[in-house]
Symmetry: C2
Subunit: 269 residues, 2 copies
Amino acid sequence: MPHFKLTIAYDGTGLVGWQRQASGVSVQGLLEDALSELDGREVAVAGAGRTDAGVHALAQVATASLERVIDGHGVVRALNTRLPESVRVLDALEVPATFHARFTARSKTYRYRIWNGDVLPPFESRYVWHVPAPPLDAGAMAQAALLLQGSHDFAAFQGAGTEPHSTERIIFSSSFRPLDDGALAAESARVVGDADRVVGALIAYEICGNGFLRHMVRNIVGTLVEVGRRRRPAAWVEEVLRSRARARAGPTAPAEGLFLVSVDYMQTP
Amino acid sequence: MPHFKLTIAYDGTGLVGWQRQASGVSVQGLLEDALSELDGREVAVAGAGRTDAGVHALAQVATASLERVIDGHGVVRALNTRLPESVRVLDALEVPATFHARFTARSKTYRYRIWNGDVLPPFESRYVWHVPAPPLDAGAMAQAALLLQGSHDFAAFQGAGTEPHSTERIIFSSSFRPLDDGALAAESARVVGDADRVVGALIAYEICGNGFLRHMVRNIVGTLVEVGRRRRPAAWVEEVLRSRARARAGPTAPAEGLFLVSVDYMQTP
């Protein structure tokens, strides 16, 4: 009974998210249906994290066991044949039965992409939050982002509708990074002779932690953008954090800018 | 009566192409409708080149005259408000009435993107031709691409259904280029620990010439890929070119991999 670690990329546009729902197309549902067809019986898939409707993944991780004797390459091929183009299995690695996508995960990294220019290039529209000019205050946002690093109670950044036992999480890193992707968009700008302005328009925030509350990354980004818009000073983020009150934080940033980048594990399977 | 040079980016997915058709959504039709609404009368838009259904543009150029007194920024804003997200006006520059998007164009540059890996990342699926492994012979394709440079009769690469006066065109450059875009896809690969293979999977061909026949770039790419697949030697491309017979060339590469990159003009407006 081979047990597989699956690495999956998906464009979340139009999907109801990772988790199987009563209606709508979910990544988990697509994978379970494809694996069940492959294995000739019901197969359950466990994901590392539940991404919301519209959220993308560069490398989500999931685990599943099959009865059929098949190797990793065979699983990748069989799944990609059955899945829509928007969901691709990048890798299937046979791992010990003790390896579980969620329980053995050490950290997850999310990236949030913002387009801070007047004109949103068509090749970016599915993958960013469009925050038109004036330019965001990058320095203040970077300063504010750092305040979230460490072990904190993130109740202020928790979306409604969930009450986990603890809202304490450890954030290993929280920072803005220079972004060299989105090159199709950048090229358009170069042709217009306005490369600097438009290349600088793509801003990426990255956060790595041992776990995330519901809507936590999007609520953090909505809060950081309030600082970037000079409506609040950077230090306000610490105030919000300490308040533990959702009402104190900024709005929830839209789903389409968010990417689950990677999941790291304690054991290297 | 201000005359504008418009620079336009579009995602051609689902569009019938640049030119207005009896049915379906065209870029020209969208622009003319938006400008007519803005100017309160019928406005005609002339494009630098007619891109086919499904073909994209990083910076297509078009010209149009308005009666209304309005500056470039106003035109950009007014058009983008009226256009769908898949079509964006990047720039509107007031130019002399003698400037015409097509007649004064000196050269056009097209890029064709190929994904030469087994698994096509979801973020690339709308913007590449997926040619699965084995890896294409990059050296042979590069050599074959060079044979097209210069002044030639490109009748062998002309799509059916058009008979221009002359099939002679000057190709200033025809080459493959290292590609650093598609970074979202590359990042997925990096996470899987297979960066080299997958980053190398994105191949871009670029061709710059004084004009292009119908389907010419896509027929050239279909022919170059035959060489890349080792079905024909590089020198065969010269044979095809000399034959002037469409039947001798390779198949037409799909529209979704093609981008109009830029249009250059004799006069700098």
